[in-house]
């Protein structure tokens, strides 16, 4: 993997395409690198923030530097209160995600945002197609206005999807793992 620190120095919008067999391992690696020196907003659409905190701690990741915006837990259970975690209704609730995103940026003041993952949004694409491009554009713009870096993850197998192709156009750097 390229030196992520150097990539972040010069690029604000990064797309990371990861093969499925090494996806989980690389998410943890990247979170570890980022949270060692930065405050990180981790937007999760497919792993509960509780499970991420557990697995990140085992991987010796500094979770105190991470705020989770969790869009999946409420879809199947009532989440317990977790420090530095906000829960929204579902990955399809783009407006709610956008609102909480803005609040967290103001409150937590992250340096960097991780979006896990665009591949999950593809599952809901038919339901949220009209709002999806607007949503992605909005969070990129908010990130840039606040001088934040934003890293989008996706599965390599989804790289030919319309959504990933659109993000590839606006990403300043694309990393393939």
């Amino acid at each position: 993997m390229e030196n992520l620190g150097e990539v972040l120095e010069v690029n604000d919008v990064i797309l990371v395409k990861i093969k499925s067999d090494v996806y989980t391992k690389n998410i943890k690696e990247i979170a570890k690198i980022l949270s060692s020196k930065n405050k990180l907003l981790f937007i999760t659409l497919n792993k509960s923030s509780d499970s991420l905190i557990s697995s990140f701690k085992k991987y010796k990741i500094n979770v105190g530097n991470i705020y989770f915006l969790d869009a999946i837990t409420r879809t199947f259970t009532k989440p317990r209160r977790i420090k530095n975690s906000t829960f929204v209704r579902s990955p399809q609730a783009l407006t709610e995600i956008g609102i909480e995103f803005t609040k967290i940026i103001k409150k937590f003041k992250p340096d960097c945002i991780v979006f896990d993952s665009l591949s999950t949004l593809i599952i809901y694409e038919d339901d949220i197609r009209t709002g999806l491009n607007r949503f992605i554009t909005s969070i990129i713009n908010k990130a840039l206005r606040n001088n934040l870096k934003i890293i989008f993850f996706c599965l390599k197998s989804d790289e030919n999807s319309r959504l990933i192709k659109n993000i590839s156009i606006v990403a300043e750097k694309i990393i393939n793992i």
Partner: protein
């Protein structure tokens, strides 16, 4: 009489694969692509078990569970979550305390483990 199972998953490959596996185990298998489709199928089938994905377009899992519980005909149907969504051990324990949620199986799953856990749920 064969036990009836409905597989609810938006991914065709998953529905097809799991159907093939379970038909060999002598279950009668039905499939649905999402929550809305599940409730259409439930108008004519009463399954013994629902294998339910979590990440699907349309109705959320919570909405599906609530609707199943609101109906006398469906409120006692057993459910296994079969999903790629990663949860913590504490969350799994909490989920399994819910009425009728028999198991939480994360994809990718081991075929023999899947068969074993379904047999257990249907005892």
């Amino acid at each position: 009489m064969k036990k009836k199972i409905i597989i609810v998953d938006d991914e065709r490959d998953i529905r097809r694969t799991v159907k093939q596996i379970l038909e060999k185990e002598n279950y009668e298998i039905f499939t649905a692509v999402n929550g809305e489709d599940l409730f259409k199928k439930l108008e004519r089938i009463t399954p013994d078990l629902i294998l339910l994905d979590i990440m699907m377009p349309g109705m959320t899992t919570s909405q599906i569970i609530e609707k199943l519980r609101d109906n006398k005909k469906t409120r006692n149907i057993r459910i296994i979550y079969l999903t790629v969504v990663q949860v913590s051990e504490m969350e799994k324990i909490k989920i399994l305390k819910s009425k009728n949620i028999e198991d939480y199986i994360q994809k990718p799953f081991d075929i023999n483990d899947l068969k074993k856990r379904i047999r257990k749920a249907l005892r």
